[in-house]
Symmetry: C2
Subunit: 108 residues, 2 copies
């Protein structure tokens, strides 16, 4: 889980996901062509995305093809982030009460 956030924290890696979103199943060389860094650097990023389960790979001959992982990217993120959604209204209430401590509330 933390791997996912770590993986998404890097702009280059988010770009790579974008690139796969635009065209799925690209090889390493293909992806490296569109990135402003060496092929090896791209390979490292893809390895991180793969180990975070955001990308799956499949070999076709000497090419390694990359796919957005069918295991949904958002699911794990949403699960973690979701509980904070529930707290949203309460948090807002607490915050405003704090900010307006000296103000008297009128009933509508």
């Amino acid at each position: 889980m933390s791997d996912v956030f770590r993986a998404l924290a890097d702009e280059s890696r988010r770009s790579l996901l974008d690139a796969l979103f635009a065209r799925n199943g690209q090889s390493l060389s293909e992806m490296a062509e569109n990135m402003p860094m060496s092929r090896q650097a791209v390979a490292k990023h893809l390895a991180i995305l793969e180990s975070a389960n955001l990308v799956s790979t499949a070999w076709r001959g000497r090419e390694k093809l990359h796919y957005l992982n069918p295991v949904p990217i958002g699911e794990i993120v949403r699960r973690w982030v979701g509980k904070f959604e529930d707290a949203r209204v309460d948090a807002l209430t607490d915050f405003k009460e704090q900010m307006e401590t000296s103000k008297e509330k009128r009933r509508a």
Copy 2:
């Protein structure tokens, strides 16, 4: 936006959000007591969360109180992550087609 992912990438910072989820509006010292690091380190983490707009602060006398940001944590994450959700089925299809290149598909 990238700030959000960066901020969430660190386990300590996610713990701090958890702590605020458990009890909103804690002071720096309070939060530092429950973390296995110095107050200054916690202050840095909270500053990062604040600049990523995940946490808001309000001064009460000499105490700096921290609140889960009423601007929803999940919204920004979900917006980015959401488009990948749309691609999910297609990605799965592409992937399976690739994996099963040599297999013939039968119509049901």
